[in-house]
Symmetry: C2
């Protein structure tokens, strides 16, 4: 599995992805699941991938080749007029790859993959999309300002409770580290190192891009600090008083 998150906030976009890939539990390796493209001053795109690695890599290679040869008749990812058209191109390429692997009659779930696409093109606001295996996609909005793909359940409650649209990009990075740490502790199929990408609204260029390993002192502090903080928070909640419930039950 995989765990990737894209967050949309007022000040921009933050992306995080893990790097574990496995074919069986005895065949594990590290792979980059975060791909960016940019035309400085004009557009920035970040793509996170989950699912069958052959499928997502082939999709990205196709998108990349089309980028490298802009004279080709095929549409290029860096020349789409809008984020919507960019998402559409990625979706179509993804579907093309899946259909190519499994035949047109039945797009086998074996070959499925999905993407989170975020970025901004000059003249439009930053946008964030979740692109499905079928090639269609949904966009983040006021009510659903973030997307998760892969092993998303363990890390979801903390995002739901803590996310605010007004968070700064560094605050988002902190939130995502907690969310990823909760997932890493629960599920072997998600693994360090993590890739982190900032995109500052209207910058039309890559923000901070870094890789977080198990040796990073900040990550360690968050991971250990969060366990302690949770225990303190838990202790601070009022105690459960069985006597009160016994009465309550009789009264019911």
């Amino acid at each position: 599995m995989t765990y990737c998150v894209g967050l949309l906030v007022d000040s921009g976009l933050v992306f995080m992805s893990d790097t574990r890939t496995n074919a069986g539990i005895d065949n594990i390796s590290t792979v980059l699941k975060m791909k960016t493209w940019e035309v400085p001053g004009e557009r920035f795109l970040c793509l996170l991938s989950a699912g069958n690695l052959a499928t997502t890599q082939a999709t990205i290679s196709l998108l990349d080749e089309r980028t490298l040869a802009p004279s080709e008749r095929e549409p290029a990812i860096l020349t789409q007029p809008s984020m919507f058209q960019t998402a559409k191109l990625i979706g179509e390429t993804l579907r093309e790859v899946i259909t190519g692997s499994s035949g047109p009659q039945c797009a086998s779930p074996m070959f499925s993959g999905s993407f989170i696409l975020g970025g901004q093109i000059k003249g439009t606001p930053p946008r964030l999309f979740n692109i499905y295996s079928e090639g269609n996609f949904v966009e983040a909005g006021e009510d659903n300002p973030f997307f998760q793909i892969g092993e998303h359940k363990y890390g979801r409650p903390i995002i739901i409770r803590t996310y605010e649209r007004t968070m700064s990009l560094p605050e988002c990075a902190k939130l995502l580290m907690v969310s990823f740490d909760s997932t890493l502790r629960s599920n072997l199929s998600v693994g360090l190192p993590l890739d982190l990408q900032f995109y500052e609204r209207d910058s039309f260029a890559s923000g901070l891009r870094t890789r977080i390993t198990d040796k990073d002192p900040y990550y360690k502090t968050v991971s250990e600090g969060w366990s302690d903080a949770l225990k303190t928070a838990f202790d601070a909640l009022p105690d459960f008083v069985p006597e009160a419930w016994a009465e309550h039950t009789e009264a019911a």
Copy 2:
């Protein structure tokens, strides 16, 4: 889906289950997933169920009928010599029901179900089992002192970080409320009310048994208090300083 947890601690056992069942998202109802049996002073059993409701209800009915007619040739759940034999009986009955529905050749996953069994029989310590569709089961121990069945991922990180073997039963109840609240907020297939059951070590009788609804002031306090506590805990973590990472990345 469903969410059920059984926790084994030094002072006994704590069980919690939700009550939502659905056949499609427009066919939702409330059902009890927690069944207890006791012979005061001699044994106490608690069974939590997840999966196909027809399967788990049929299994429990068979176990119950055998309880009601102890003179039958079939083994009765209240006369097993040990918790291990009790788990074995439940597993066999479960497999019998699934095979009866789907035919002996292929036990269809459609009819699958699973159970958490906990309890104590005089002369042995409290024990906790996770019983699978196939009828086999595993037991909780020092290293895996709790079991979750159903929609378990959302509520797992908080148990992993907070559980301690020395917790009191009321502390366990508080922990489970937080774990269930995190799940309820993330997944529609798990729903209130919740059933809670205490078993105090060597009591050989039911401890507190109560039902928690959305109107319970304590549950509300935990649910709202936990959101606030998490935010406070999150704010207390050291900030992410992008400048430090930019240097770090260059150095790498």
